[in-house]
Homo-oligomer: 342 residues x 3
């Protein structure tokens, strides 16, 4: 594609030769002839002089010898360019003869159902949605339009996915929550998990992530929220819009996360809490109690990030601090005499 | 179902109008007309006055204006009521024509084998057991009676499951343990994992949980134990009866857990340890050495929970403690003169 | 098999009666008549006197009353013996009639493709490679020779596996990395993940482990490296040769691990870091910044292991340390009079 055409499709300002042919995409240092690249972080600006790329997406005010597209948010614009230049593989519409689609199920126009996929009784698959091989939809599942479910995804009875939802391989939506009632002898009895899961529009769910159905009512993931791989979402959890949960995060049952919450990798959140809008938790943080909107928290038990950074710095010097206390005790005992017991 | 009939089936005392029709179940605050609800935690008792539920399960001594079932353990009784009122979907007995059942396999009376399920050579499926679509049983697997294996569950060669075992979607039972022998050049060579896994009766295994087979001998999960999602059980681990492991817990190889052990979310336990009966570990605890029966432990490395709570409180004030030591040093140095070196 | 024959196949020195028949393998304490066992850790040497095994693999210089094989590395030699005595089940060559192999795919000589496996357009499966039931290879995947992929493994478009790669059940190779560009309104837009994953020769990948494809370029796991279960490898990560990552480890995007790196269970590594050759991180360590070759690190944020052990010991006594500081303040205040403010 010519750079001029790409600029037009992205709605970007073009600087330099628009006739250059763009054949691929790559990072600044890896790019070769024919590649489009981008500069989002100014600290890599020096690479602009040496990149072999054919063109670059830059923010306004960045000069460059090579042809460039000027965009307020170069990373976002480059992401869109990648989608145009390298469209993901898309199977043709239709139901594979080796799929198992129940007679009472409804598959929308232009949808694709891959080999060995199962679409259960009364399940509904929206228009243009793609189910890759080995997707399983239990009875009464609803999947919206323009969704993409990768191979090995399991969706349990009655769960509902909105439009444009993307689910990576092996994710499980709607398995039973972890609910048991203990009897007087200490044995556990299953609390039947009769609720469901609702995934709103534009959510993406990572590989091998588990979102449990509610015991009663529903578990809900809000519009535009993105979950990474191997994330655990307990029963009756609610996650607000535009939140981001990184890999291996775990949220225990009935906790409510607000909008625009960011949880870094391996964070754990206890059950029955409220995590306010815009909260950020750094990696491996363990959150045992509710967090006010806008806070940045770290450590276990989680405290404010700045306090945690300071305490962590002292932690690394604790043996020295202990020694100083011991020396003070000795000096004070010596100075003040026999009363200095301990 | 009339409340009177439900009371009879639960063996509960009925107070109030037994003719009220029960059509669903819900929490105290979410319940609407026709719903049965429950009060287990006295701190929610005030909601009894405002709930719109048709009836409630309560402990003896709790008054309520609405019809009620009186039970010593309201949560357990409500759980049983949910099972009666909202029975889980159960596929009809029989083998789906698209399943793959080896000629040498045995499928018990009343069992169901779903589409694209694989029952390998010499595998045995007990009476009334349900294999949802896409369950895979390798050769020589034994699954007991009245089990429920959800879609995507994989059970490897020779593993044995008892009766009434429930396995959520995507769990893997009997994958090779992580065992390698290192040679003089630092390269790792596989130690063939020729042992197996035994899952005793009434165990429940969460979605995407992995229970590795033993290198030699067996990995064993004791009767009535419940494992949540994304749990990792290493090779040759033994877990006693009636234990509970929450989401994302990991147990390294050859460790023995006693009975009634409770591990909260994201706990890790090192290999070759003994964790005594009744031990509780709070969330994210890391256990590097064996723990005596009955202990409650926290932190990493794990210490007794009370000590950890106190140390954690001081941790959050470490910068202040450090400042106080610095001030003391200055005051002592000033008072005691030039000898005050450090 | 006679011990004499086994010694010959292993190239080991035989001491004692070579005519003894070996029928199985077991640990020192579990072994019965007919079993081969081994002694690798000298602290178990006393069991040599009481084991019921038929023969034992020992290091040079270890006497034993029973027949023995002498090997410099008894554990490695025993591992090889297990492979000879208990060869893993191996399905016959051929494509199961219920498999789905695209007309444009190539399946090598002696390979096995199990029931309901999917081999996508232009995918290539090397000679003697085994795909167990329910393996899914997307379009343009390449799997080398003598590989073993267990049921439920998913390999996404264009990913490449070398020779002798073993992948345990349910692992996902090449799912989209977690990359999103945020717009001015705080909404996230997918950065299409158009890179790939390369798994070099002799790698083993654990059950339910996820290795994400790169956004651009490739994610790479080096020759001979072993990944345990439920591990998360972010996009564009590079792992060197002969490294070992234990269960539930997570590596964020674009980080580079050197050769012979060892990460214990539940370790987390932040993105865009360099972890040097031979680094060891103990369980649950959180690594927020790059680590020099050869270091042993612990804690979060990770510090040198020795320093962490000392600080952790003081942590457990922090309340006592705080009390001592308080007493010092009181004594100094009393001795120095009214100036002792705070």
């Amino acid at each position: 594609m010519k750079l001029r055409e790409l600029a037009a499709r992205l709605g970007c300002e073009l600087r330099g030769d628009g006739e250059v042919e763009i054949r691929g995409v790559a990072g600044l240092e890896q790019a070769g002839p024919g590649d489009l690249t981008f500069l989002a972080n100014p600290k890599y600006a020096a690479h602009l002089a040496t990149t072999r790329a054919a063109a670059v997406v830059v923010a306004p005010g960045h000069g460059a010898a090579l042809p460039r597209l000027v965009a307020a948010n170069p990373y976002l614009t480059f992401a869109r360019a990648v989608g145009i230049l390298c469209p993901p593989p898309r199977p043709a519409a239709g139901i594979d003869p080796q799929a198992h689609v129940d007679a009472t199920a409804v598959v929308g126009e232009g949808a694709h159902v891959g080999a060995f996929a199962v679409v259960g009784p009364r399940a509904r698959v929206g228009a243009r949605t793609v189910l890759r091989p080995h997707v399983v939809l239990y009875e009464d599942v609803t999947v919206g339009e323009d969704c993409l479910l990768h191979s090995g995804v399991q969706v349990r009875e009655r769960c509902r996915l909105g439009d444009r939802v993307v689910v990576q391989n092996g994710a499980v939506i709607g398995a039973d929550g972890f609910g048991f009632a203990r009897d007087a002898e200490g044995q556990y009895h299953k609390f039947p998990q009769v609720g469901t899961v609702v995934i709103e529009d534009d959510v993406e769910i990572g590989a091998l992530t588990a979102i449990d159905r509610a015991a009663l009512g529903e578990t809900r993931v809000g519009r535009g929220t993105k979950l990474d791989n191997l994330v655990q979402i307990g029963h009756s959890v609610t996650i607000g819009r535009d939140s981001v949960l990184a890999g291996q995060v775990g949220i225990a049952g009935s906790t409510k996360l607000g909008e625009r919450v960011t949880l870094a990798g391996q964070v754990g959140v206890a059950g029955h809490l409220t995590i306010g809008d815009g909260v950020i938790a750094t990696a491996q943080t363990g959150i045992p109690s509710s967090v006010e909107p806008g806070k940045i928290v770290s450590g276990y038990p989680a405290i404010e990030n700045r306090a945690w950074l300071k305490s962590s710095a002292v932690f690394a010097r604790l043996p020295e601090l202990q020694r100083r206390v011991r020396e003070l005790e000795a000096r004070v005992a010596e100075a003040l005499g026999a009363r200095a017991g301990r």
